[in-house]
């Protein structure tokens, strides 16, 4: 943690919202990536980001500086996103007019059936990630999306590097089984 960050955290702990805003400016995209990685839905991810920084402002007094600040924030983001994703499924409303081109046949990727196909794929990936135990899920998100090193993941999750590697191995294995049809459809359909 550098001096500037230490100073920001200290000001934030004293209730300085300007300090929180600077922390927000620095970290909101990373928090969004973690949130989106778990919930796989834009509005939910934005809700999670909002909730994370409100919680951060409330709980930052508990941060003692024993670990890096970003691991504290990532842990908060991951727990908030996982809690959010436990809520019931809801209908997805959106207008394809908002997606850009209104004439669906102009660009194939803007056609409703293509968008539906993408959404179905996203939904399948989200479902598969949801099937993982919480620790494996968090480890996969930290590694595959945030590309944290094994040591950084171990610090964020409070475990050893060996445990991180084990969770990654079993998490990948399970996801490959669940997403077998879409990860490698040609090879799997030929029975190889």
């Amino acid at each position: 943690m550098n001096d500037k960050e230490t100073e920001l955290i200290s000001r934030c702990q004293q209730g300085d919202q300007d300090a929180l805003k600077e922390i927000f400016n620095q970290y909101h995209k990373k928090v969004y990536r973690i949130a989106y990685g778990v919930v796989r839905h834009r509005e939910d991810a934005l809700d999670v980001v909002q909730e994370v920084f409100i919680k951060l402002f409330r709980s930052i007094k508990n941060f003692k500086g024993k670990s890096a600040f970003y691991t504290y924030l990532y842990r908060l983001a991951m727990n908030t996103a996982i809690d959010h994703s436990r809520k019931a499924k809801k209908a997805v409303f959106f207008s394809l007019d908002e997606e850009g081109s209104f004439q669906p046949s102009d660009r194939p990727e803007k056609r409703p059936d293509q968008i539906v196909a993408r959404k179905e794929l996203e939904e399948k990936v989200r479902w598969a990630i949801d099937q993982l135990p919480q620790d494996q899920k968090a480890t996969m998100i930290y590694r595959e999306i945030e590309e944290l090193s094994y040591e950084e993941i171990a610090e964020a999750m409070g475990c050893s590097v060996g445990t991180v590697m084990s969770r990654l191995h079993y998490g990948r294995k399970k996801l490959q089984d669940l997403l077998r049809d879409i990860v490698n459809p040609v090879r799997n359909s030929s029975g190889v």
Partner: protein, 159 residues
């Protein structure tokens, strides 16, 4: 004198307009309001797939919309029902594979009908929605797999 003139004018007015006023009074108070209009709803059950490239002739009016919305090459009409919906009286149409669609008219204005649409499987709701249909507008409900493709329900209304 002036008063007598006024009285004469009033009397003349009443003689002229009283029959019409009485008629309007009877019309308004004596007869019950007109019965609410029925809505004729058309439900078409369509199988969309990529097997072959046949568009059912009965779907000609929807061809342009289906072609611009979906990438399927074949659209086959499985069922075509026209139902006259009275207010708050549900009507049911079997769809396919144990499913049925129940439609109820819940509101009607000059240019719009409000319909509650329920798709049921073995008596339980799998979809519950309420839509506003104006003449010329179509609602397509689709997605469930059917054979090599999917089922699409096309709803439209005339009133």
């Amino acid at each position: 004198m002036a008063l007598r003139g006024t009285a004469k004018r009033i009397s003349s007015f009443m003689k002229k307009w009283t029959p019409l006023l009485v008629f309007l009074f009877i019309l308004f108070f004596a007869f019950p309001p007109l019965a609410p209009a029925q809505v004729q709803t058309r439900v078409r059950v369509i199988e969309a797939s990529n097997v072959g490239s046949v568009i059912d002739p009965s779907l000609r009016d929807l061809h342009g919309q289906l072609g611009s919305l979906f990438r399927y090459t074949s659209y086959r009409l499985l069922r075509d029902e026209r139902i006259n919906l009275s207010p708050n009286q549900p009507a049911s149409v079997p769809v396919h594979q144990g499913r049925s669609i129940e439609i109820t008219q819940v509101g009607l204005q000059a240019n719009m009908a409000e319909l509650r649409v329920r798709i049921k499987r073995d008596g339980a709701d799998i979809l519950n929605t309420q839509v506003r249909l104006s003449p010329g507008r179509t609602v397509l409900v689709g997605g469930p797999k059917h054979g090599e493709g999917v089922v699409i329900l096309a709803l439209s209304a005339n009133f």
